[in-house]
Symmetry: C2
Subunit: 155 residues, 2 copies
């Protein structure tokens, strides 16, 4: 059986509950995400901040009218590398029961093509050191694990 | 002898040549940075893109009226962690002949205090895996090397 196609599109505000459900279902992330309705206003506020940002874009992956994944891109310019621009990918999540079906590859492939079309010098992301499957996945797509990602939690 | 104080301030366009010189002098970065005047217009254009960006800020560290370091911050909101905001630090560089004098600690300390004051959930950055001294430095400041930083060069 042929899998239905995965459609990547920018998220709209009505997608927010489905996006939150993807993160709430992640056993490794540990970011305290929840589908508790009391948390929804905070998520909606975040959605609006991202939508209002000129260099951040939130996407969803849709298959058969269901949201099966999400990711976010950010474009940044630095003075290094002769003042080039890069794409940072953040908050990549595939629905737990849809893994291993090419959704992640469709999402990251979309980012790579968009970054190339927009003249970015590189695409970068960080992945939790415990996510070994994700690391193999990114290496298969051509990413190099050249850096250490340091985080300092403030709250 | 007491070291002169390090002042952290936002960069202005006349700082661009001094900032470029910091990166051009880095043997490990390998980003092709150069003080060749032919490259200056590209750096100036990058400076203007950063200045125009609502969530990116370029800083310099100054000591005795000389630029001895630079870094850039970016504020991003994601849907994870209940829609929280984080600070990403990019393009940290201390002048080669001024290392080990607390300039890096002053720059990163500034970032941490600003992120805390602005209510950020965390501060994050990536560091090239070969920069072992930098890793010890970030760990001393409280950062955890919890992630792998993946990069895919497009050009």
């Amino acid at each position: 059986m042929q899998a239905s196609p995965v459609i990547i599109r920018e998220a709209v505000e009505t997608d927010v509950p489905a996006i939150v459900a993807l993160f709430a279902d992640d056993p490794l992330g540990g970011h305290g995400d929840t589908v508790d309705p009391a948390a929804l206003p905070g998520y909606r506020a975040a959605f609006r901040r991202i939508s209002a940002s000129a260099n951040e874009t939130l996407y969803v992956a849709e298959r058969e009218a269901s949201i099966v994944g999400t990711f976010q891109t950010m474009v940044t310019t630095t003075m290094t590398a002769r003042g080039s621009s890069s794409m940072i990918i953040e908050a990549v999540q595939t629905r737990a029961d849809c893994r291993g079906q090419g959704i992640g590859a469709a999402m990251i492939g979309f980012c790579i093509e968009k970054a190339r079309a927009d003249g970015m010098r590189l695409v970068q992301l960080t992945s939790n050191a415990v996510r070994k499957d994700a690391h193999r996945f990114y290496e298969r797509l051509g990413f190099s694990p050249s850096h250490i990602g340091f985080k300092l939690k403030l709250k």
